[in-house]
């Protein structure tokens, strides 16, 4: 048992607690310590990635309880990938926030670190109820971040988001209760053993529980009938928060990828592939809806928020089809799209700060400051998001298109994805040409100069898409191995046999 598994949870927890007590310390000290915490977290995530890349499962049993009796953390390739993805994103958002967005709220860094902790728990846990707790931890930190900066429009969007997620939590608890009442366990590996054995009337209970879980994860991932909260909440949050938000929908997708192939996979008997035939059409409709929203967006942040929904649809379609190649392609695209969308949020905020009263609205305005730098970043982000070569979005979409086997599904997916990409491209071209090229004469007040931290973090996050292209070979090898690992349920189930180290108790001898 390796203790490294707990590091990505402990580091932000301790760093966050430190920040709670430092609310009145000089802001430069708070920033330095907070970013140092995030860097440490990134280091621990990379260590875990190196550990996980040998393809074995590592288990950390809290209190040394043998699974399935205690809560366990499980590290596999998927968890490690998500940890690194989040840590990299978190680091750049954090650097951006330290460029000025963290002022005005003494507890910004605390909330930010606690949110990272919640995300890490969600990615590492091997227990269904613990997943619920992780969701609540990251949500309550997120509610605070969403309110950061204030303003009445933010209050209303935040209120909707909180109420919706509380209703989602209630559904999550009901479905956990249903599944527990039949199987008598909450450990995911044990559930994967018990669910295929369910028979008779109990089958319907588990089925209902499983479908309700899908609704909950769909709410987090913003699948179509449950996605209308997203553009409002994203478009009104401050940039680093919205950028970190890019990973929030991916938590829902992670949960679907983690739970459905394992518990309701091909081995699950009568419950095999539960809900997946619903998920495929919903994913395509979500994609189309996102494209329509992007075409109709009247400011850059709303445009990027709809891009989040487009990427959710694009990701879930191959996942719903359930093939190994599709899963691998989806994971590749997930890495690319998360970073790209986050970078676009940061770019939109920078554009808004340099355009005076026009903000990030897609209208003509006097020539902005730093136009060349910002337009190049926007171009890179838009090319990556729309999926044009040579950037990583193209490779992600290409892998997804290649992964579908010929048939009706292929026709639908190819049609919707290709037309959707074309329309997304139109939406970005329209927004980009109006915002960056069509200038009117007029006086623009000199805005606050862009500081280095903001410019550098946005620049690097945008250019990560090029890094993905350079490292496309190793990354796609890794995602392929991850998909293989996810399809091999026996490996995950074997964690139940993990020997738990029992230290020799010196008292036992005395009592005897």
């Amino acid at each position: 048992m390796t203790h490294w598994l707990i590091a990505p949870i402990l580091i932000p927890l301790l760093g966050g607690i430190l920040q709670v007590f430092m609310g009145y310390a000089p802001i430069s000290l708070r920033r330095t310590l907070a970013i140092a915490t995030t860097v440490l977290m990134l280091v621990s995530a990379i260590v875990l990635l190196a550990l996980a890349s040998d393809g074995s499962y590592r288990v950390y049993a809290f209190g040394n309880w043998q699974p399935p009796f205690g809560i366990v953390l499980v590290l596999d390739r998927l968890s490690a990938l998500m940890l690194v993805l989040t840590a990299v994103l978190g680091l750049f958002c954090h650097i951006y926030a330290s460029g000025g967005a963290d002022e005005g709220n003494r507890q910004f860094h605390t909330l930010f670190l606690f949110q990272l902790m919640g995300l890490n728990i969600a990615f590492l846990t091997g227990d269904l109820f613990n997943l619920f707790v992780a969701f609540e931890v990251l949500l309550i930190a997120f509610y605070g971040l969403l309110m950061h900066g204030g303003g009445s429009s933010r209050t209303v969007a935040g209120l909707h988001y909180v109420v919706l997620n509380l209703a989602g939590s209630a559904l999550f608890l009901i479905s956990v209760g249903m599944i527990y009442s039949v199987t008598g366990t909450l450990n995911m590996a044990d559930l994967a053993v018990k669910i295929p054995q369910v028979t008779g009337n109990n089958l319907n209970l588990v089925k209902a529980g499983g479908m309700m879980l899908l609704v909950v994860f769909g709410l987090k991932a913003a699948i179509l009938p449950l996605c209308f909260w997203l553009p409002k909440a994203y478009a009104r949050a401050t940039a680093p928060v919205a950028a970190l938000f890019a990973v929030m929908t991916k938590v829902g997708i992670y949960a679907i990828v983690r739970i459905y192939p394992l518990m309701f996979g091909e081995d699950a008997g009568e419950l095999a592939n539960l809900g997946m035939d619903w998920l495929f059409p919903l994913a395509l409709v979500t994609l189309s809806m996102g494209v329509i929203g992007a075409l109709g967006a009247d400011n850059l942040k709303t445009l990027v928020a709809w891009q989040v929904i487009i990427s959710v649809g694009t990701l879930l379609a191959p996942i719903a089809l359930g093939s190994e190649a599709g899963l691998s392609a989806a994971l590749f695209y997930l890495v690319s799209t998360t970073w790209t969308v986050a970078a676009l949020f940061l770019v939109s905020e920078l554009v808004a700060s340099q355009r005076g009263a026009a903000g990030d609205s897609i209208v003509t305005a006097p020539k902005m400051h730093h136009r060349t730098f910002l337009s190049v970043l926007f171009l890179i982000g838009a090319v990556a998001a729309a999926g044009l070569p040579p950037l990583s979005g193209f490779f992600g979409k290409l892998l997804i298109l290649q992964s579908v086997e010929p048939g009706v599904e292929m026709a639908w997916l190819w049609g919707v994805l290709l037309v959707g990409s074309l329309l997304t491209l139109i939406a970005y071209s329209r927004a980009g040409s109006i915002v960056f090229w069509w200038n009117v004469d007029g006086h623009l007040e000199t805005p606050e100069p862009m500081n280095n931290r903001v410019a550098v973090s946005t620049g690097i996050l945008t250019c990560l898409t090029m890094l993905i292209v350079v490292l496309a070979g190793p990354l796609s090898d890794y995602t392929r191995a991850t998909a293989e690992q996810l399809h091999d349920n026996q490996g995950y189930i074997n964690i139940l046999q993990t020997p738990v180290h029992v230290p020799q108790n010196p008292l036992v001898g005395e009592i005897n």
């Binding site: 707790v133 209303v156 909707h160 939590s169 209760g177 249903m178």
Partner: protein, 122 residues
């Protein structure tokens, strides 16, 4: 006992969902609270209903499952924190918009009632 328990859960959930769909934040909070009561009772029942049983396997013919009780305890704590946050948030909404409509809208057609007037004056 099962019937009574089921009816209580049903009544709590129904009224919770009804109130959740109202347009003002106060009923919405009440609705979420009732809903979470219903959910907590449901979770509790997922370990089967039994009275006077020990929570230890092997000491008697049947036992009462202690795990749902632990789950309910966690759910109560989390629900309590979330409700507190939601109350503060809706107070903020009331202060920002001088109205406790969930969309923060001002209704032009109907004049504010006496009670609302008092609240917004404060």
């Amino acid at each position: 006992m099962e019937l009574l328990f089921a009816l209580v859960i049903g009544a709590l959930t129904t009224s919770g969902v009804y109130l959740l769909l109202r347009a003002r934040t106060f009923p919405v909070i009440m609705g979420l609270t009732l809903l979470s009561y219903g959910v907590n009772l449901f979770l509790f029942a997922s370990g089967r209903l039994a009275t006077g049983q020990q929570p230890v396997i092997g000491t008697a013919a049947s036992y009462s499952d202690p795990l749902p009780q632990a789950l309910v305890l966690t759910a109560i704590v989390i629900g309590f924190a979330m409700t507190a946050f939601l109350v503060v948030l809706s107070l903020r909404n009331l202060a920002d918009n001088e109205n406790d409509h969930v969309d923060g809208r001002r209704e032009a057609a109907t004049p504010p009632s006496k009670l609302e007037q008092e609240v917004s004056d404060k």
